[in-house]
């Protein structure tokens, strides 16, 4: 008798949880529920900014901590004709364009970028998937490049456009390449670099040659590889999916601090 009732109880509990699970899956596919969930992003960003502000520095490590092999993720080689041609001539014709809401648009060659003061930092790269790698990055602080371009008062975000077609599959809209964005707090952070070296070597192709972004307080997807154009904008609503980046358009949060 008791056993029978227990069986009923567990049967009922099992069906209830199966229903709840089915419900959770369906509810994830509605338009409104993910928006409710995403409403926590503002709270998370606000709380993290409150404690880290513009001043907090990502931990830096020693040479001994450098990973023997730094994992490359995402696109390992854009492999487009244009990109392959640039690789073939050592990125001599490569120019970093800086435009949008700036007083002085720039076109910087790799040599010009390297001639600017550099910063070297041994930091931990955190992938949204959960793994971490430590590497030594050398590059130009983004703030120096932005200072040369002199952003206009209306500028709020720094957009990065990349030579990375992401296999060409999921891209549509005005920017058929990987793109990302940082706000000015993160862009002017002293550890935010346009990095051209990893572990003392020129940035290898799998890691985003010739230049990738390092934004050390953010996850990996916020640090685009193969950057070739920077644009300062007031808002990114009009760019592709309007969420501020390739992965953001696929449902990842714009705030990549956690």
């Amino acid at each position: 008798m008791v056993d029978l009732k227990r069986r009923h109880f567990f049967g009922a509990a099992a069906s209830a949880s199966a229903l709840a699970l089915g419900g959770c899956r369906d509810i994830s596919q509605t338009a409104w529920w993910p928006e409710v969930l995403a409403s926590a992003e503002g709270l998370t960003k606000g709380a993290e900014r409150l404690v880290s502000g513009s001043w907090a520095l990502a931990p830096e490590f020693s040479k001994a901590d450098i990973a023997p092999e730094f994992r490359a993720n995402g696109t390992l080689n854009p492999n487009t004709p244009d990109y392959n041609a640039m690789v073939a001539n050592g990125f001599r014709d490569w120019r970093l364009q800086v435009g949008g809401l700036v007083a002085h648009p720039l076109k910087l060659s790799l040599a010009q970028l390297r001639a600017m003061p550099s910063r070297t930092q041994i930091t931990r790269h955190d992938c949204v998937e959960g793994w971490s790698c430590i590497g030594e990055w050398t590059g130009t602080q983004l703030r120096l490049v932005l200072a040369q371009a002199n952003p206009l008062p209306a500028a709020r975000f720094v957009m990065f456009y990349c030579d990375d077609p992401m296999g060409g599959s999921d891209l549509s809209g005005s920017v058929p390449f990987y793109y990302e964005s940082l706000d000015l707090v993160e862009a002017f952070h002293p550890q935010t670099l346009l990095a051209y070296q990893l572990n003392g070597q020129d940035l290898p192709v799998p890691h985003g040659a010739p230049v990738r972004v390092r934004a050390e307080r953010q996850l990996g997807y916020k640090q685009p590889k193969y950057v070739h154009r920077i644009e300062l904008v007031k808002s990114f609503d009009h760019i592709n999916g309007g969420k501020g980046g390739y992965w953001e358009d696929q449902g990842y949060t714009w705030w990549g601090g956690i």
Binding site: T44, L57, R71, G257
Partner: protein, 304 residues
């Protein structure tokens, strides 16, 4: 006119029968309540926070497994030594082309096909750490898992802080949860009693015993903060704001491993909790966590 009395007689007979059975029911209840006493055991805030926590923890565990599945391996230290995971769940094809799930803990490897490493998703074999029935949402969907996790994380923290304020400002913590010296003295005897499935009755059932206090104290005030802090240590922004967290937990990957262990400690607690609820009187326990009223009494089998 002639038919009415017969209808009236039937009605009266039914009425009397009904009255009689109600009377009998009342007698029975009175009899039972003489033997058994309902006490008010859980106050409303505790009951409300208990159920909020139950839902929130279920979502946290399942969305956490979804996130874990994006890279189903654990490491120690600051970075991931990909060749030396503490734990990894992988899927490989065997010689016949069938998917095989391999679980590796340290140097120990075993086949876990169907559960860990490789399992069916909508009837199709797939490489995935934990199976679809254990993750939220079911299919591989990291972005959505993160949305669930970081929304409900705020609820977990809000509920936890509310409980801590309630417990410390009122008397709940000292009166009900903090094990006393006296409790700890009984501990050995209580372990023996629990192992024999002999649970406190009568007066002793009106408050938590030493094992309950220890379990609730550990889960709420040690495991709770630990799971939140190790979760925060995985955030690169939080690490910039509070670098000592990395020192405390031995690095980001260690924090991730501890976070995982915490999650499964919550699951272990949940399983023991449910077993104890069932063994010590399912309906009585569930009622007490819904209405607050818990029946104590001699030898009333309250299995329901």
């Amino acid at each position: 006119m002639t038919e009415l009395p017969s209808v009236g007689a039937t009605t009266a007979r039914r009425w009397n029968a009904a009255r009689e059975s109600i009377e009998q029911y009342r007698l029975k209840r009175r009899e039972r309540s003489k033997r058994r006493k309902l006490i008010y055991r859980h106050k409303l805030p505790v009951r409300a926070m208990h159920w909020i926590n139950a839902v929130v923890l279920a979502v946290m565990l399942m969305s956490g497994l979804q996130i874990f599945n994006a890279h189903p391996a654990l490491y120690w230290g600051n970075s991931s030594e990909f060749d030396h995971p503490i734990l990894s769940l992988t899927g490989t094809q065997d010689s016949q082309g069938r998917l095989k799930g391999i679980t590796q803990i340290g140097d120990w490897r075993f086949n876990s096909t169907g559960l860990l490493g490789a399992s069916n998703v909508n009837g199709e074999p797939a490489v995935r750490g934990f199976p679809a029935w254990a993750t939220l949402p079911g299919p591989q969907w990291l972005a959505m898992g993160r949305l669930w996790h970081f929304f409900f994380a705020w609820l977990l923290v809000a509920n936890g802080v509310a409980f801590a304020i309630y417990a410390f400002a009122g008397n709940h913590f000292r009166r009900d949860l903090l094990p006393t010296r006296d409790d700890l003295g009984h501990l050995g005897q209580e372990i023996v009693d629990h192992a024999r499935l002999r649970f406190p009755k009568g007066e002793a059932a009106t408050h938590y015993n030493a094992l309950q206090k220890l379990a609730y104290f550990t889960v709420i005030f040690i495991l709770g903060p630990l799971v939140v802090l190790t979760g925060l240590t995985m955030s690169p922004t939080i690490d910039s704001a509070f670098p000592p967290l990395l020192w405390l937990f031995g690095g980001r990957q260690s924090a991730r491993t501890i976070h995982f262990i915490c999650a499964f400690s919550f699951l272990a607690f949940f399983i023991v909790h449910i077993v104890m609820v069932v063994l010590s009187g399912t309906w009585n326990n569930i009622r007490s966590m819904i209405t607050g009223r818990y029946a104590i009494g001699p030898a009333e089998n309250s299995h329901g």
